[in-house]
Each structure stands twice: as structure tokens, then as C-alpha cells.
Symmetry: C2
Subunit: 507 residues, 2 copies
């Protein structure tokens, strides 16, 4: 494709996206295709001859859009949001157009240095400790996901704990232990498996009524394990759990980690970016104890996936775990020690120029724009929680300090509450106006309403609330009618049984 063809088709694609964003509210949020539908609409083999761009663009509407669940839809309240924005998409477009590979400083110095600078900016914006700045012993780096960040944090912790012995000798699965709560994200357990420890190394610490980790239980668990000869490697504390945005108390946990030499990793994947608003930083009090910290700009900070912001207080532990320098990667700048090579801060070797999209987002919105974005969603969620609190049809089942509200519908006596709740969820999602997901709190399913799509306004939150209450009323009535019908049927059955002697019973 020549530059001039790219210019023409590029304009077409930009227009297609602008049109998509304009009409996004007209799609059902959750894709309504069945398994196999999308594949069935595709040819069995690749084309032998190249096709025109018109045909490709047309298939976006014919094949792709019906199979898309619209994460940027204002009615998307599922999971956590996956924000994107115009400046993010355009920063990413520049990155794709440059097509550079930032594995080493020398392979594109701007990719490394812009990332260092933007990560320092973001540490400032979030009020994170000095130890995370590139000017000290630590530093920030963009990772592919908080799953990846949790893994590299664990690898750094293993390296530090073993005094570097893991590099040659590997891990000691029978001795190493890692501490989480029942609410910690599953990616931490996955990291433990990937790192070769196995899930037996995971210690699940009790949570309090607010679903935050109980520091007393953590301390007791650590004491017991140390007494038994285990070697605590890492404690994962979460700020804003995936299930309910519960918050583990960092200050108390930090002290305990220090006592035992355990690495404190803070997984603030969703909630961390809320700290752009100073009044929300109290949730993270004690963050200065953290050895590492992760939060996703691609969840709630207007930056497209992937853009995980990861900081470490001692970068030597991280690069000690991950650096390898074969001859074909040697270069004068690296040999002189004058530069940072981010390939040694992550799992893969290659790197995209992801700092560009963050730079575009921060500059376009400014600090005040990012604060306004976060605050508006928090305010909407608090309104929703207020409506639910005041309504006898729903319980708000967990603290909701940010923009996620977890609701448990109340059902009439005799109704299977779990089935009814999941039926309500499916009904809403089938309707197409909104999309919610569920979680389990104290063994019961609850509905998660995550306010966070950039296009979501008060009107959409009002609408999801109306759909929830209407759906509840309709289902409650339906279940009640069913229950009444069943009761009537049973009564009729009993009546018939009393009138008619059983045929096989001797008179």
C-alpha cells in the first residue's frame, strides 16, 4: 500500500470509527451472535489475490460489528470498563505508523525516554511515593496488563528473597509462600503457577466484613508459616478488588511485610488511577510501603488497552530477575550503563511505543480533565447506590467507594433467589440496552454495575436503574405467579388424590 493509498483509506477508516462512535448507542451492547456465527460468515481459506479496501471495510459492518460486544457503549456496565478515547486512539495510530520496536534504548531512544517521563508525570498525578520515580532507585514502566505486572512483581520478589539464587537454581516450591485474600484477582494465582510455585504456595488470608484483607489474620498466618520453615515471598494487597472494589489496608499490611521481609505488591488495577483526584487517595494510605504497584490506564483513564502503569521501588530486583544480554543486543549505550533498556523490565523482548497514547491522553485532557472524568463516574455510582439503598427491592452488598456498585435483588419468599438474580441479569443483557456482569459475594450472586464507559452519563445510569427495577418487578410477579400456579397445581393434585383411591392399592 503506497503512502497515498494509505492516506485515502486511512481517512476512510477514521471516518468509519467516527461514525461508529456516533451510532454506538444504537447497537445491542452485548453481541447477540451464537458460537460459530462469525466463523460461518468467513471464507474457508485466505484469498489467493489481494482484495480492494472497499470489500474489507464493508466486512467490518457485515462480519465484525454483529460479533462485537460494545465496550465503549454508554450502556456498558460490565466487568470493569475498558476506556478508550480519541487522543488514545490517535497516539496508538502514530505508534503503529512509526512502527518502531523499543526493546532497547538504542532501538528508539524516544520510546524509552518518553515512557520514563510520562511514568514520572503519572506518579506525580497519582501522588505515588518518591521511591517510584526514575530519579531514585525505582521507576515506572508500561506493562501489557496487571496480570503481567503481578507476574513480574512476583519474579522480582523471588529474586530479592533468594538473593539472586533463583536465576540459576530456580524456585523452591516447597518453601516459598505468597499471600492473597479470597478477593484477590485470579491473575495473582496464575502468576504463582507461571512462576513455578504451584497453587499450594498460595495462602488465602481472611477478609473482614468490608471484604478487605484482615491484617491480624495476615500477621498470624505469616508467623505460623515462618515458624514452620516457609519463606514468605510476597503479599499481594488489592486496592479495589475486581469483585466489589474492596480495599486492603495498605498501612497495616506494609508494616507486617517489613517485619518478615516479604515484598508488598499493590494491585490497584482498576482503582489506582482514581488517585488523580486527591480526595480519593485516602483509600491508598500506606502506599509508601509498596515494593511495587500496578494500575491500568486502560481500564478507567481514557487510554485504550493495553496500558498498565507499573512502578517498582527497587528496579535492580526487577532487572536482576529478567535481564539477559546476548551479543546481538549489545550496543554502546547499553554497555556504558547510560540508559535504561525496558526489555529487562518485562516478559517479552519486543515493545511497542505505548507511551505515545498516554502522552496524547494526558496532554489533551490535562490533569483537570482526568480528575473530572474520574469524579463524574464516582458521583454517578454514588447516586445509583443511593437509589438502591432507598429501595426495598435491592440491597447494596458491599462498600462502594468508587464507581462500582454491587446489588443483590430481594425476592419474594419461596423464590430461588440465586436463579432469580441470574435470570434478571440475562434478561437485562438480552435486552441489549445495557450490559452487566455478576460476581459472588458471601456465596450469593450479585449484580455488578460498573459505571465507567467514557460515554456514560446520568441519563444512562438512570436507565440502567429503571431497567433493574422494572425487570425486578416483572420477574417477581412472574415468579409469584409461577409459585401460585404451582401451589394451585399441588392443591388440585392433593384434592384428586383424596377423591380417587389409588388403583394399585387393594381396597
Amino acid at each position: 500500500m503506497t503512502p497515498e493509498q494509505f492516506r485515502r483509506h486511512g481517512h476512510e477508516v477514521v471516518d468509519w470509527i467516527a461514525d461508529y462512535w456516533t451510532r454506538i448507542g444504537t447497537f445491542p451492547v452485548r453481541s447477540q451472535v451464537s458460537p460459530g456465527d462469525v466463523r460461518a460468515s468467513l471464507p474457508a481459506a485466505a484469498p489467493e489475490h489481494g482484495e480492494g479496501f472497499d470489500a474489507i471495510l464493508a466486512d467490518l459492518d457485515r462480519v465484525v460489528l454483529p460479533g462485537v460486544t460494545h465496550w465503549q457503549h454508554p450502556g456498558f456496565f460490565g466487568y470493569f470498563p475498558a476506556n478508550t478515547s480519541g487522543p488514545s486512539v490517535l497516539g496508538d495510530l502514530v505508534s503503529a505508523g512509526l512502527g518502531v520496536q523499543g526493546m532497547s534504548w538504542v532501538t528508539s531512544p524516544a520510546a524509552t525516554e518518553l515512557e520514563q517521563q510520562v511514568m514520572d508525570w503519572l506518579a506525580d498525578l497519582l501522588g505515588l511515593p518518591e521511591s517510584f520515580r526514575s530519579t531514585g532507585t525505582g521507576g515506572g514502566v508500561v506493562q501489557d496488563s496487571s496480570s503481567g505486572a503481578n507476574l513480574v512483581a512476583l519474579l522480582a520478589a523471588l529474586h530479592r528473597r533468594s538473593g539472586g539464587a533463583t536465576v540459576r537454581q530456580g524456585v523452591e516450591p516447597e518453601r516459598a509462600t505468597v499471600y492473597v485474600s479470597s478477593e484477590t484477582h485470579s491473575s495473582m494465582e496464575k502468576a504463582v503457577r507461571i512462576a513455578g510455585l504451584g497453587t499450594d504456595a498460595v495462602r488465602i488470608v481472611e477478609v473482614d466484613g468490608d471484604l478487605g484483607m484482615n491484617p491480624g489474620a495476615l500477621a498470624a498466618r505469616l508467623e505460623r508459616d515462618v515458624a514452620r520453615g516457609y519463606r514468605p515471598v510476597l503479599v499481594c494487597a488489592t486496592v479495589g478488588t475486581t469483585s466489589t472494589t474492596a480495599v486492603d489496608p495498605l498501612a497495616a499490611i506494609g508494616l507486617i511485610c517489613q517485619k518478615h521481609g516479604a515484598w508488598l505488591h499493590v494491585d490497584a488495577a482498576y482503582a489506582g488511577v482514581s488517585a488523580v483526584a486527591p480526595e480519593l487517595r485516602e483509600l491508598q494510605a500506606g502506599v509508601e510501603w509498596a515494593d511495587s504497584y500496578t494500575t491500568d490506564a486502560h481500564k478507567w483513564l481514557l487510554t485504550g488497552f493495553d496500558a498498565t502503569l507499573f512502578w517498582v521501588a527497587d528496579r535492580a530486583a526487577l532487572t536482576g530477575a529478567l535481564a539477559i544480554l546476548p551479543d546481538y543486543l549489545r550496543n554502546a549505550a547499553t554497555d556504558a550503563g547510560a540508559v535504561v533498556d525496558f526489555r529487562d523490565w518485562q516478559i517479552p523482548l519486543g515493545r511497542r511505543f505505548r507511551a505515545l497514547k498516554l502522552w496524547f491522553v494526558v496532554r489533551w485532557y490535562g490533569a483537570e480533565g482526568l480528575r473530572a472524568h474520574i469524579r463524574s463516574h464516582v458521583a454517578l455510582a454514588q447516586e445509583l447506590a443511593g437509589w438502591a439503598d432507598a429501595d426495598e427491592r435491592f440491597d447494596v452488598v458491599a462498600p462502594h467507594p468508587l464507581s462500582l456498585v454491587c446489588l443483590r435483588p430481594r425476592w419474594p419468599e419461596g423464590v430461588d433467589a440465586d436463579v432469580a438474580t441470574m435470570t434478571l441479569l440475562e434478561r437485562l443483557n438480552d435486552g441489549g440496552e445495557v450490559f452487566l456482569t455478576h460476581t459472588t459475594v458471601r456465596r450469593e450472586p450479585v449484580l455488578r454495575v460498573a459505571v465507567g464507559s467514557p460515554a456514560t452519563t446520568r441519563e444512562h445510569v438512570e436507565r440502567v436503574w429503571a431497567l433493574l427495577t422494572e425487570g425486578h418487578d416483572w420477574l417477581a410477579a412472574d415468579f409469584a405467579a409461577q409459585a401460585a400456579e404451582q401451589a394451585a397445581a399441588r392443591a388440585a393434585e392433593r384434592a384428586r388424590a383424596e377423591e380417587t383411591p389409588a388403583a394399585d392399592t387393594p381396597a
Copy 2:
């Protein structure tokens, strides 16, 4: 940013990229900034108020471009290429604009199903075995890099070897062994470290004169290790090593792996995609023995980073190692087992919709376009090798079946050949017209000329050859002059010493 603002600024960015591609040949290939230059041109803190898009675009020229090493430059012959193309950039742009997260089938069915289909297409295009097709026990998936692919292959192998015990109990670093050659990419060793085995588990098998793994040495090493109680987990065979594109003999290695129950992983990161041209498939004879296989569309198949094509013959081993299903990810489609959830095929949870760019590339170029692309680079490299073979100033030091040629300059007697070779490299790279990197073959530095940037034509290969020979002549003359000068100085010193009695020697 509203859709209409996005439309306007999107056109501006598309134009900026089209202009960049048009003028790319005017930039020095390797960035000429010094460490710290880029950061020094950036503000110390993020802006409080949002900025206009003009200011951001202007800084691309002011701040970013001087700090970029231009991987898409026709004079880029370094490392391996990192191809991109118009259709790839536009496919990625659509992906960014949709902003969907394809971790599970339900979160955007098209993201999963298009990926399955395109990976099946590509398995066909590359002539890969039936076992890798999604219709059988295996399947293909897009990974972030071949580093990531090497890691997940190892995790799957560990899972299979242990009968699934690694999930709970972790690895056995003191027993597990992994086989590579001295030419295997460093990411395999990195994977071994990440997976908790430590580098002591790595067995480095001898290579033959062509730098391919010696199967006899592999067999002997395996026998010895098994006899000593080790448990061979995985053999990594490379098709197209990073250093010289050497090829390990897959057929012989496959038989040996089968005998010992070791997982055969084929790392064809660079060379694998060459198999779109059937006449180049012989390099991979025996690929049907592979348990897993990786090749990078983002190196040499016109698709921007990242787009690693990874196939596995037994997907259950992979998902057995990597799947975790917390409540908040449960959904009807997953529970019914009717769909594939690609989050369980990779390290991170989240996924971009990377199949779009592959789909755009394959459709725009067609199979014949991809073949022509590969063949043209192979032909150019063979021409270059021919010129070097016929020239007494350079040796071609390794087989060059594809598009990489490794050259060792010959230097006059008395010249430090290693210093001279590296000086020639720096001289060429400082010149800015071309960019090369080096490697070490049999302990000597050699220059790698990797023909593979999409814009590279015969004219650019002629030019790099002219620069190499001119640079060689200039340096050889310079070194000879230096040597003559030194010899003259030594002679003069000797003459002076003979004429003048030493002052401190008694007469």
C-alpha cells in the same frame, strides 16, 4: 474528544503518517540523540489544563522524530526487520477504535472467532501440520511475541510432563531439563527462569558447522540426563536463529523428542513466515513433529508489532497450564464448553483484537502478495551474498537460506580485526544512510545485513554494499597508515636511542 473532533484530528494524523512514510528516506536511520536528550525536551510535569491537538502534533516532529530509529526506513538492515504496512496499521486502527477486550468469547465473539479463522488460514498458507488446526486437538492463537510464545510452550510442556501436577505443586528445578543450542534465542533461557527452573536446567547442545543443532549430541545429552534421573521437559529447535538464521534439523530432533517424551517447541520467530513460499518449506522439514510452533508476522510478514503466530498441537496442555475461572468471568457460553476463551492460552488476561490487522494484511496482499514479498527479500539477500562471495574484502560466514547475510570483513595483517569490524559498523551507522547490527560467530564479531524492511529495494541493497566496501577500503587504508606511522615512530625512537647515550648511564 467528540467523534467530529476525532474525525478532524484523525485525518491530520493519517496525513502525518503518510507524509512520514513519504519522507522516511531523508532521516538518518539510527537516532542520533544522546542519552537524556529526549527527556530534556519534555516538561517536568504533566499539564494542568488540556492542550490543543496542534501542539501535540507539532511535538511529534520536534521531540519524537529525532529520537526515533526508523525501523521502516529502506536503509534499515539491523536485527530482524519489524515490518508494518498500510493495511496492518489500518486494521490496528479499527481495533483501537472498537476498543473491545477479547479475553473471553462472550466479551466480543468476533475477536475470538476471527482470530481462530485467520490462524487456520495462516496454518494453510505456511503449510503447517493438520494438528495445529482449530478443527482438531490443537489450534492457533496470536501472542505478544515469540518470547511470550516460548514461555507458554514451556508451561504447557511442564504441565504435560508432570501430568498436571505443576498446577498445585509447582516445578522441580532440580530434575527438569530444557534443551537448546548455543544459537537458541535468549528468550528461551529467560522463559526457563520465569517458569522457576533457573538456568541450571538449561542444557546447551553442540551445533554443527552450519550452526544448526547436532542431533547426535542432543540424543547423547538426553540419554545421559535420563540415566542420571533428570526429566527432560522441552527441546527448543530453531528455524532461522537470530544470529545467522541457522536451522536446527526438525525431523531428526523430532524423533529424539518422541523417544524421551520431551515437548518439541519450534521457534521460527523470523523464518517461519517464509513458508508462504512453498520452495522454502524444506527448511522446516519435520515440522509435523512439533508440539508447538511460533513465528512472528510482525517481523517479516507486513504486520505491525505485535502479532506472533503461535500454534499448539494439544491445546489441552496449554489451557491446563493457564486456565483459571473466577466467578466474575463465568458466563453461559464458557460454562457450556461451546467456545474458546483465549485468555486461557496466554499470560495476560486481557486481549486486544489483533486478528483484525492480520485479516487486513492477508486480504489486501492475498497469498500471492505475501509470497512475492518474501521472495523479493530472499532474492536480494542472495544477490548481496553473491557480491560478497566474489569479493576478497569480505567473507560470508554462515549459510544464508533466507534474507540475512552475515559478513566478516577481512583486514590487512597486523590490524585488530575485531576492533576494525566494530569500527566499520559504527562508521556506517553514524553515517545515517543505513543501519546494521552485529553478532558473534565463533567468537568473532560479524556484521548482519538483514534485508526485510518493506521499502527496501535492490537500489538500497546496492547502496549498503557500496558503503560496506567503501568503508572497508577507507578503514583498511586508515589502519594501514596508522600502522605505518607507528612503525615509523618506533623506528625513529630506536634511531634516537642509538644516537644519544642515556643521560643516567655512566659513560
